[in-house]
């Protein structure tokens, strides 16, 4: 049985279920309790689990991140709420020097089972310090797992898997998708980290989209349908681990690929995915792999500018068309 729930509800359910299941799971962050965060994603949890397990902190991201690392090393399973993905910069030391390396540096003796929930996504008119999509930064650091849910269904299944994982996992939710509904099973389910989803089959081009860019790819695929072009749409779901097999399998079939992501393009995650395809499906490719990331500028406030910085279904479709028709495409 499924029912349509919002991504926000999906996250809330995942946390509530896991907190019921395991007493060591706690929530920690700014205004997570009574306020349920500015996005109201956590509403109701403090009523069920109390302020002992749903912990409001002062505005001290490095501090509560560090506290979560120590708590995770000693028997708790903290879910850290980082209100905006842009604040990742503030917790990088505790996340990347401490959490990511503790298991390795201790020769496997200590571990840090924690989840850092944060968000990404522009076009909310929030300007350069509240609109970044910084998943590339953490995907680069060994010892961290990184998940990018693309709908309520993934949000719930990946988050539950992340909470049960014995390692630090960073999850990026698209803050513009919190109110988007998707069918989600009534029954409990988990989505394993490291399994991509093929959302739509097609034989002429593979569109790989992370997070909300999956939806952009799906809409592009519909447009392409109208042109008689069959596009396959893949959502990697997690960046670390990256389900290379599913991606390569698809591209070996279609011979063409476009990678779409909302992080900055330059040195971003489209580079990694495109480079792996280009290397490992080299002899199958009929055309260059096209990358479409967010424009390499700080996110501008003005709607007239901001909307130019993010990939669109039309843009993806146009690039796909050019690829399939053999028109040289050199820039996205």
């Amino acid at each position: 049985m499924t029912r349509g729930i919002t991504l926000s509800q999906a996250v809330n359910e995942a946390i509530a279920e896991e907190m019921r299941r395991d007493e060591t799971v706690i929530l920690i962050g700014e205004d997570v309790a009574e306020a349920g965060t500015p996005f109201k994603v956590l509403s109701g949890l403090v009523e069920e689990f109390g302020t002992d397990r749903v912990i409001d902190t002062p505005i001290a991201e490095p501090g509560f991140m560090g506290i979560a690392v120590g708590a995770a090393m000693t028997g708790l399973r903290p879910i850290v709420d980082l209100m905006f993905g842009d604040f990742l910069y503030l917790v990088m030391d505790q996340l990347c020097n401490q959490a990511a390396k503790t298991h390795y540096m201790s020769g496997g003796k200590l571990s840090v089972p924690l989840v850092l929930r944060t968000n990404l996504g522009a076009t909310r008119r929030s300007a350069a310090q509240h609109s970044q999509s910084l998943h590339a930064l953490v995907a680069h650091i060994p010892g961290l797992k990184v998940a990018m849910p693309s709908s309520a269904y993934e949000a719930k299944g990946l988050l539950k898997a992340a909470i049960r994982d014995d390692n630090p996992v960073v999850i990026f939710e698209d803050k513009l998708m919190y109110q988007d509904k998707a069918p989600v099973p009534e029954e409990e389910y988990l989505l394993p980290l490291g399994e991509a989803a093929i959302l739509r089959e097609g034989s002429e081009v593979t569109l790989i989209g992370t997070s909300s860019m999956r939806q952009v790819c799906e809409r592009a695929a519909e447009i392409l349908d109208g042109d008689g072009i069959g596009a396959e749409v893949i959502d990697p779901r997690t960046l670390v681990p990256l389900d290379e097999g599913t991606i390569l399998g698809s591209v070996r079939k279609t011979s063409r690929a476009i990678v779409v992501d909302e992080g900055h393009q330059n040195f971003g995650i489209t580079a990694e995915i495109a480079a792996r395809i280009s290397e490992k499906a080299f002899y199958h490719l009929d055309a260059p792999v096209i990358r479409m990331g967010a424009m390499d500028v700080p996110v501008p406030f003005s709607p007239a500018l901001e909307d130019l910085t993010v990939p669109t279904p039309e843009g993806v479709a146009a690039n796909a068309r050019a690829l399939v028709r053999g028109v040289p495409v050199h820039a996205p």
């Binding site: 505005i59 501090g63 929030s126 300007a127 350069a128 003005s302």
Partner: protein
């Protein structure tokens, strides 16, 4: 602070005007939001006007400030024009940041505003660095770092207080304690005492009624002078109150503060009302004169809104401009195209 009442009428009236101007700006901004004419959201300064005005009237155009997510008041108090501020708020090309900054980064840079900041506590270093420049370059300006009670939780402030104290920098850390950070009362997130935190670094700390523009101005004037004489840094905690929610959409807020509390502050401690009454009781201005000021500024603000609504958005080619100074368009430059 000026002593002689009559000789200082002008200064008093300027403070009054500036507070009224801030309130008018915010009322219009709120309205723009409610009418869905403003992109994004914003944090209203309403209620805290005496802090920005009391402090900025103690400063010269040369003096620097750093501001916050709740920065419209600081920006106006430091000398910005309504028109260009509304333009920025609406993402228009004529805005102070050419529409690239918006509410959370608004700044009239020419009047020494080094920027509003959307990272809570994020400007503590910038303000301290501006003070370092003053000292190294032998300039006589003072820098005021505005921040909220919530920002005192950020470690950065302690790091820079240490350096400011060691290096005797001309910086004033001005904490606007409005009793809340977002939806949380201050005492739930502040252990111990804020003034003691500054004093622990050997920094002289003051507490001032942030609703009393003259008290704020007196304290700021004295400390700014002492900064110029090399006696800085200083800390001021200003008790104040925000009338609106944390941001414009924060309407149902009974769960974290009561309507009664809000009503009490507005009735008893409104910085504009109370200062207006004082101006009348001291014979600086008659009721009608103040009403005239209110309505003039109201008109000015309405005209500014109208202007900004009609002003053009930046052109699409601007999107990759101003990424790097000295580089016209960032995108080709980053791929190695010679400039």
């Amino acid at each position: 602070m000026p002593r002689d009442k009559s000789a200082n009428s002008e200064a008093y009236l300027r403070m009054y005007r500036q507070m009224v101007r801030i309130r008018a700006f915010e009322n219009n901004a709120n309205q723009l939001y409610l009418n869905a004419k403003m992109p994004g959201l914003t944090h209203m300064y309403t209620g805290q006007e005496a802090v920005a005005v009391g402090i900025c009237e103690a400063l010269t155009d040369e003096d620097r400030i750093t501001s916050t997510h709740r920065g419209h008041g600081h920006c106006l108090a430091k000398g910005a024009e309504l028109r260009l501020m509304f333009c920025e708020l609406l993402g228009k090309e004529e805005g102070y940041c050419r529409g690239k900054g918006g509410s959370m980064h608004i700044a009239d840079q020419a009047h020494g505003n080094l920027g509003a900041n959307a990272i809570v506590g994020g400007s503590a270093g910038i303000a301290t660095g501006a003070a370092l420049s003053a000292k190294r370059l032998g300039r006589n300006y003072v820098t005021v770092c505005f921040f909220g009670d919530g920002a005192t939780a950020q470690g950065l402030w302690y790091e820079v207080m240490n350096m400011a104290a060691l290096w005797k920098l001309p910086v004033i850390y001005a904490c606007e304690n409005n009793g809340y950070s977002e939806y949380t009362p201050t005492d739930e997130v502040v252990a111990g005492s804020l003034t003691a935190r500054a004093e622990a670094f050997g920094i002289e700390a003051h507490q001032v009624d942030g609703q009393d523009v003259l008290a704020v101005n007196k304290c700021a004037t004295e400390l700014a002078e002492r900064c110029r004489r090399g006696e800085g840094p200083f800390f001021i905690e200003l008790e104040t109150y925000r009338y609106h929610g944390h941001h414009v959409g924060d309407i149902n807020r009974d769960y974290y503060r009561s309507k009664e509390e809000e009503a009490r502050w507005k009735a008893d401690r409104d910085p504009i009302d109370n200062f207006g009454k004082w101006l009348q009781s001291e014979g600086v201005a008659a009721k009608e004169e103040l009403a005239m000021i209110d309505s003039e500024i109201g008109d000015e603000a309405a005209a500014a809104v109208k202007y900004a609504l009609a002003a053009p958005y930046p052109d699409a080619v601007e999107v990759d401009m101003h990424v790097f100074k000295g580089v016209e368009h960032a995108l080709p430059y980053m791929s190695g195209e010679r400039q």
